[in-house]
Amino acid sequence: MSKKTGEVILDLQSISLRFGGVKALTDISFDVREHEIRAIIGPNGAGKSSMLNVINGVYHPQEGVIIFHGQERKRMEPHQAATQGIARTFQNIALFKGMSVLDNIMTGRITRMKASFIEHALWLGRAKREELEHRKKVEEVIDFLEIQHIRKTPVGRLPYGLQKRVELGRALAAEPSMLLLDEPMAGMNVEEKQDMCRFILDVNDQFGTTIVLIEHDMGVVMDISDRVVVLDYGKKIGDGLPDDVKNNEDVISAYLGVSH
């Protein structure tokens, strides 16, 4: 691949996260470079989703430093992360089931809407202009993900694989610089997985979006990610290129178990 990864844009240093007495993450450090696809893998309960939640401000680690775009990050809320260009999808789909695909993706534009509530309600000049602009952006996302045929379908009526794609669409509509994907391929069949892989690679390639993803399918991870970090019981046990990680003893034992 001829793509170039850039500077470190997210640097996590010695992150520890506890819920009462439970240690979810212990002293974890890794970084994410611009334009790369960074995978986080690990067995169930390893702390992968917690890690994503730390990155987009849902959880606040008790210890450690987060440096995003060269600035140390203070305690922040998820919506602040969103305005800074971080978008995400969820392990269990979190869409508005009764709303159409179009409207769901439109909600991804919310942080970029400037007109006030009153202006929107009255459909005044700025609100109208804005909405046309946002709709155009949403249509580009729909075109990109090839979901034109379900544009007006309520999300609840769609099969699982397509709902996942819509969720990715909503994240893309925010035009993020960093995209966090929590198990984007869970529960998909082989063909759906291939489609999703292609979309992730296309997003990364065409928009230069930095992607951090959690995934269980090792084939997928090894194929599409530039670097992989491995967690187990809240600790980092591996970090590096896919091939290095694949041959790492600790990783193999965490995944396959060790013979005693």
């Binding site: 709709r135 580009e140 075109d143 034109q148 045929h149 007006k152 390639d205 065409q206």
Partner: protein, 655 residues
């Protein structure tokens, strides 16, 4: 250049590029092409299209495209692909559309055979296919693509973005302002305008070379019959490589000047159909069938009142709808009810189907069930049939308004002569005939007889109204022992119009009567059996139920009654039949991959059953080996009952 009246195309516009530039002058701001993109219908006007075609043609010329070169066109129905056809024609080149869903290896034959130097493709997918086989197509020099998505890392010098090509063309145009007009002026009506490959069910595909004159004559004839106007819309969604799309979306659009509408993607065709509401529409019978099925399924879920109303008015439509459409006299009470029905049911229904504005709809390509055909006509949609081949620009017969019968394919179109040969084969002659098969003088010679008639390979007859009726492929037609014509497909099609009968194979050549094997449709019959409370375990069990035998017999009796009405076919009534113990299957070589019965193979395999049918036995034991999908083999055996159907003699009919 002088122009005629706006409604008629002036004389002298003998090639498609000249037609295009004519429309750009007389209706420059009218929409020529619409395409739904980013959720919005984008419009290209005639003058806009003309400008782009000019740019594309000049760009092609700058790349070295020459008179007589072939240009492959591969992709869904996209405006730029249609424009590229015109661009090639401007330079005296020949567009060669390929089926876009073919895999690379299937495309290879056509690319080699047509000696393609230039290709216009839709997107990365098609580029990849061409790159796969490029080594084996040494003549292929340039590939132009429409959609730049995913193409960023392709840096081969022979790949061109269509926008870059247009820019190149615009510069070329400025430097040589007279070049393109001179090229267009050189075009002759007798030049080949397009090459369409036959599907190649028998042997290798052949390139059918059609001239500007042939397609323009065909388009003119269609306009004359249906009074097509420039203010019309057609949805262009069928493959560009298919002759029908080339006639409707390219030739007729350029001759008449109506608007073609390109759907957003192949998955959105039904939505786009509703949004555009075309005035002119073409679909193969299976599309009409699935449309109707989807409506019927939704009606099952409607409230009882709506359902009652729906079925009541469908009854009214069945009684008088077709007659009203044909302008025949109808009782005024029926006319009133029909008007009410239009308000309550037919109008909304047409709207849901996207067919509210239809002035003419056509179907062709396969036999359409008379019930299905009449249904659409009865709710006020002017659905008609046509008949033609790739070699005849899909233009031989059309059903004129007011003379539409489900059984016939219509009267010879303007300028077409039809003759029936002694073996019942349909022979045609006219301006729409192919010039030749590309590089195949042998095949060209074989396809014509000494008087210049094209041999269609179809068997048919001309009925009392002068309409052509197609009965079968000529090679399948035989004779009964008494000399009467025996057309197995004709009878089988009639049987298959019943939802309960999935497949039928008729025998009768050199026999004294017709007998049939039947495959029941396990879905439809199973559903019926469930409602009757008949328990069954699978196909073989269901096929052996006496109730099912009675059900199939009633279908065959009905077919016999209609055959008896037909002087030519009265002897072809099905006397005896049996329901096969297994479904005919391509895995067992009984059907082709396109699900056509391999008649000879089936006859040989089940010889013992045929003997039983003709020997008067009432049962016959059979054991057959079958291949399962996972490759295992097994045996199916059964005692098959042989049943006598009710036949109607000509004498009885007279009473």
């Amino acid at each position: 250049m002088s122009f005629g009246t706006p409604t008629g195309t002036p004389e002298g516009l003998q090639t498609f590029p000249r037609l295009l530039f004519y429309h750009a002058q007389v209706r420059g701001n009218a929409p020529a092409i619409r395409e739904k993109d980013l959720g919005i219908w984008q419009i290209w006007t005639w003058s806009g299209v003309a400008e782009r075609v000019r740019a594309l043609a000049s760009g092609l010329a700058a790349l070295g495209f020459k008179r007589g070169d072939n240009l492959a066109i591969i992709g869904d129905n996209r405006p730029h692909l249609y424009m590229m056809m015109s661009a090639a024609q401007c330079l005296g080149g020949v567009p060669v559309p390929l089926y876009q869903d073919a895999v690379a290896d299937e495309m290879l034959f056509v690319l080699q055979d047509a000696a393609v130097r230039f290709a216009m493709v839709e997107n990365q997918e098609q580029v990849d296919k061409l790159l796969d086989v490029k080594d084996q197509v040494p003549l292929l020099e340039h590939i132009v693509y429409d959609d730049p998505r995913g193409m960023r890392h392709y840096n081969q010098p022979f790949l061109h973005d269509i926008r870059a090509l247009m820019e190149m063309g615009r510069i070329h145009n400025r430097n040589h302002p007279d070049f393109l007009d001179a090229e267009v002026a050189q075009g002759r009506a007798s030049d080949v305008s397009v090459m369409l490959y036959t599907s190649g069910t028998t042997g290798m595909p052949k390139g059918v070379c059609q001239t500007h004159a042939a397609f323009i004559a065909s388009a003119q004839g269609g306009r004359q019959i249906d009074q097509l106007e420039a203010a019309g819309d057609i949805l262009s969604y069928l493959p560009m490589a298919w002759v029908g799309d080339h006639l409707f979306s390219f030739a007729q659009a350029l001759v008449v000047g109506f608007t073609i509408n390109c759907p957003e993607s192949s998955d959105t065709v039904m939505t786009d159909l509703r949004e555009i509401g075309p005035t002119y529409y073409f679909a193969p019978p299976r599309v009409f069938e699935s449309l109707l099925t989807s409506v019927m399924i939704r009606m099952e879920d409607a409230s009882a009142i709506k359902r009652k109303m729906f079925h009541y008015f469908l009854g009214v439509a069945k009684r008088c709808g077709s007659a009203i459409l044909d302008g025949k006299p109808v009782r005024s009470s029926d006319r009133l009810l029909y008007g009410l029905g239009t308000f309550l049911v037919y109008g909304p229904l047409r709207n849901v189907l996207g067919l509210s504005r239809i002035r003419v709809a056509y179907t062709a390509g396969a036999a359409i069930g008379p019930e299905l055909f009449s249904f659409y006509r009865s709710i006020g949609i002017n659905l008609k049939q046509l008949y033609g081949q790739t070699e005849t620009c899909a233009y031989v017969c059309l059903q004129p308004d007011g003379q539409v019968k489900p059984s016939s394919v219509g009267a010879p179109a303007p300028g077409v002569e039809i003759k029936i040969a002694s073996n019942s084969e349909v022979l045609v002659k006219g301006p729409m005939l192919l010039k030749e098969y590309y590089k195949r003088p042998d095949a060209t010679a074989e396809s014509m007889n000494a008087d210049g008639y094209f041999l269609t390979g179809d068997a048919g007859f001309i009925d009392a109204d002068g309409h052509l009726n197609i009965i079968d492929r000529a090679k399948d037609v035989g004779r009964l022992a008494n000399g009467a014509m025996f057309a197995p497909n004709y009878i089988e099609n009639k049987l298959k119009f019943f939802q309960y009968i999935k497949e039928a194979v008729c025998f009768g050549h050199e026999r004294d009567q017709v007998c049939a094997f039947i495959n029941i449709d396990v879905g439809a019959v199973g559903n019926w059996a469930e409602r009757q409370g008949i328990a069954y375990s699978g196909y073989t069990d269901l096929a052996s139920k006496p109730q099912v035998h009675a059900l199939v017999k009633s279908c065959i009796d009905e077919v016999n009654a209609t055959l008896a009405n037909d002087a030519m076919m009265a002897d072809s009534q099905v006397h005896r039949f049996l329901i096969l113990h297994k479904e005919l299957d391509p895995d067992d070589d009984e059907l082709t991959r396109t699900r056509k019965v391999r008649r000879k193979f089936v006859a040989k395999k089940y010889q013992v059953l045929i003997d039983a049918l003709y020997s008067g036995q009432s049962t016959q034991f059979i054991e057959t080996e079958v291949k399962f999908e996972d490759g295992r083999r097994g045996k199916v055996s059964a005692d098959l009952r042989i049943i006598d159907a009710k036949t109607v003699s000509a004498a009885q009919q007279a009473v």
